[in-house]
Symmetry: C2
Subunit: 123 residues, 2 copies
DNA sequence: GTTCTTGCAAAGGATTTGCATCCTC
DNA sequence: GAGGATGCAAATCCTTTGCAAGAAC
């Protein structure tokens, strides 16, 4: 537990919304001017790995295009990041009808089920 | 409607799953060896913009860390990509209990509501 | 012909990595 | 003192862009 890791954690705890590593870096720099962006990245990665913080959406390394035209959602393995489709019915979710808070106009729902795929469960 | 755009579209129609631009590029290259990756990117972007294809999850430019520890989901504006939290209750979704197809072990649900935020609706 | 598209290479942004040095325990 | 963490810079990956040459209508 180093000083910068401690400060990084404290700073992040006070933040709201969905900050990017750059934004966290900017805040930490105010308390520890010599801190490097690499350190911020390394520690955020560590925090997310250990479950202390969570990332908003899993990155798949690159953009992915959806080929399944049926209404469906995704099962995303938190280990290998594989994406498997799951039909709306199988998932058992039903979107709320009507307006959402703040006047947000709904186009579609995109549900990711995060978990461990069968293959990763074996290893 | 150029030749490479036509081929790109035809190739993509035959693909399954969630291919990356690189994967699409590799397939198109077999039919049009001189095609460039830039062209593939440009056209995929065009297809997604016009709604012919859809991207699996919206990119926010960089990683985002979740600071809200309450159970909640996200409203993501398809124009400005802003992320707004929405409580589980407000969203009116309830996850299915029990096992999912393929033995997928559920850790959590991550629901993104894709649409247009109030601010973007005005402009 | 005019406009849009292509291919190439260079630029760009986000993130990771190698490595020598420095800090914790 | 050993092992892990830091800072720096270079490297990497994914994606976009500028621009001259080429295709489409």
């Amino acid at each position: 537990m180093t000083h910068q890791r401690q400060v990084l954690y404290e700073v992040m705890k006070t933040m709201h919304g969905h900050p990017s590593p750059e934004e966290v870096y900017a805040k930490v720099k105010k308390k520890v001017p010599a801190v490097s962006l690499a350190t911020v990245y390394k520690n955020i990665h560590l925090f997310v790995e250990s479950g202390i913080f969570r990332e908003v959406s899993l990155h798949h390394g690159s953009q992915r295009v959806e080929m399944n035209r049926e209404p469906h959602h995704h099962m995303v393995c938190s280990r290998c990041k594989s994406i498997t489709d799951i039909g709306e019915r199988d998932l058992g979710l039903s979107g709320k009808h009507g307006r959402l808070p703040g006047g947000f106009l709904v186009e579609r729902y995109s549900v990711d089920v995060i978990g461990i795929c069968a293959k990763c469960q074996q290893s």
